[in-house]
Point group: C2
């Protein structure tokens, strides 16, 4: 297990988050760092997906992870077992991260010379969709047990995501989840979104998702 | 299918939500109505659990349901199929309900002479825990696929709940979910919480949960 820090991030004092997010995006671009903002409900499998994604990309990219949670350091401990640089951010009860909170994490992580930083946002399909973190791209995970009606109930999250990972497809037979209906609902909200059905548990589909991410990181460098 | 209304609720103007929640609790007590605030992550099975709970209690109690969501009327449509009085509340993007928003729903529902009103809160383990809705009791659902570490990450939700339904126990064999470890984490946060392992799909455990709710409704009347 790598050592890792747990830091308490402070509520932002900036009034204009969109402006601050654009500023952070430029800072990271100048440093050659791609920031992925990864969002989902609690328990959709963000950390497990990350562990598999790290295994797929660690020989091509210099990676670091920020784990945001209300409390605990469970996820940072899991990531540290992969040997990847990781920091645990405690949000002090806040349901999302904005750009300045994200910047506090990146500066504490000391992410210079890192190709890819992934922010694992607080598990929540509502608030994180409303705050630009300064990320280069946004991705979300929807897991099969949550149901295929989630795009109807939480449309904004699906609209602001560049990629959707549909996780836990290994249990499709045990749940009433219509993959085709789900994809068609998502595409109606966001025709350009990339969709990757995966099982982070078995590894199915992880390569396709990781390849997309690698391509995006490389595109952003040029 | 019963007919039902969809209403847009307005953000509250009250500064002191705790005071307003105490006021609503008294209003409901005077009207003989028990309000249950039911919370969970998206897709934990609130609506399916409610459908089974209604089947269990409809001969003993006069029941009405409020379905809160950012968008859609999927859940109100499901409940209306049971013949139960239901209203869909749209929160205008808000991630939780407070007491005044709850009151707007109850008044639009016209819940007088109703023994039990259930507010199905927005799917979210963070924000709803921070706002007293004026409910008589709070209950939450954690589903097996979400993982047994959720009490560590979202402690407040487990602390403010009077009852915890652990749903989807029919798929325990397909997930790494340690029921005993989960219960012990929850009890550490909230020693008095009542815990009901159930499968809303198969009906297992629903009777025990419904009996607890019936007893609480009867206790509150006296």
């Amino acid at each position: 297990m790598n050592e890792y820090r747990v830091i308490e991030i402070k509520e932002s004092v900036f009034e204009d988050n969109n402006k601050d997010a654009a500023k952070l995006r430029k800072e990271l671009k100048d440093e050659g760092t791609f920031l992925l903002n990864l969002m989902s409900s609690p328990g959709a499998g963000k950390t497990t997906t990350l562990v598999k994604t790290i295994a797929e990309l660690k020989d091509q990219l210099n990676i670091a992870i920020m784990e945001a949670d209300i409390d605990s350091d469970v996820d940072a401990a899991t990531i540290s077992n992969t040997g990847t640089k990781v920091i645990q951010l405690h949000t002090g009860g806040m349901c999302h991260l904005d750009a300045d909170m994200t910047r506090q994490g990146i500066r504490a992580l000391d992410a210079k010379h890192t190709d890819l930083v992934v922010l694992e946002n607080v598990g929540n399909l509502v608030c994180p969709a409303e705050f630009d973190t300064g990320s280069t791209k946004n991705a979300m995970i929807l897991s099969v047990p949550e149901g295929d009606d989630k795009p109807l109930k939480y449309p904004l999250m699906f609209q602001i995501s560049d990629a959707l990972v549909i996780n836990k497809i290994d249990v499709l037979d045990y749940f009433d989840f219509d993959l085709e209906a789900c994809i068609s609902r998502v595409k109606k909200l966001n025709p350009n979104i990339k969709i990757f059905p995966v099982s982070a548990k078995t590894g199915e589909g992880i390569k396709e998702w990781a390849n997309w991410l690698l391509e995006e990181v490389n595109k952003a460098k040029n």
